[in-house]
Symmetry: C2
Subunit: 93 residues, 2 copies
DNA sequence: TCATCAATTAGACGTTTGTCGAAATATCGA
DNA sequence: TCGATATTTCGACAAACGTCTAATTGATGA
């Protein structure tokens, strides 16, 4: 069954996608089949760890990604079902 | 041939969609087969004319709508091809 | 237990954004 | 041309946002 987005989550997603850095992070995560370690994301962008953490939180509270801690590391994966739900709702315009 | 979005326009669209009021305005315009007069939009929301004008400009510079003046009135229509191009690009994540 | 590395949180700062009222511009009809 | 109506622009303001450094928390291995 497909994901259902309420107005609040829909709006959160729209805002999350409005920042180019977050969009790139999401692409980076989506491109990988495996979960992506936080450190990798920091490695391929110019932002500070604090800023990265902030952006990851935005993406996660939007529901676009999921995080999992593995020891010292945190890994992320794309919630493609949520992204698809967002696309479906936008397409209804 | 489908519309091609460069990074700047893509980002502009994402930002335009991040505001709930603009999203509603876009829906309102998209729902109508005919062009929608500016005054109608003002009629069914609580914002001032100045704020409405500001939002319409954002939507237009994003490429999501087109405007046409007819005498005293300005009318808008949805650029569905641009919206579709945005959806297609987002779907590539 | 401690030193170390990974990630988050707190606090601050400048920029962008949404909003409005007032003034300006555009168009029409009398 | 003048007055009325529709829309835009200007200038201001508060709130939200992206960013950073410094401090904190979490987890590992020596």
């Amino acid at each position: 069954m497909a994901v259902k987005l309420n107005d609040d989550q829909f709006h959160r997603i729209a805002r999350a996608l409005a920042d180019p850095r977050r969009y790139e992070l999401l692409r980076r995560i989506g491109r990988s089949e495996k979960c992506v370690p936080c450190g990798d994301l920091l490695g391929c962008s110019e932002i500070s760890a604090a800023t990265l953490s902030h952006h990851m939180k935005e993406l996660e509270t939007a529901g676009l990604i999921e995080s999992r801690r593995e020891g010292k590391f945190v890994k992320y994966r794309l919630r493609r079902d949520v992204l698809d739900a967002y696309l479906a709702k936008l397409a209804q315009i």
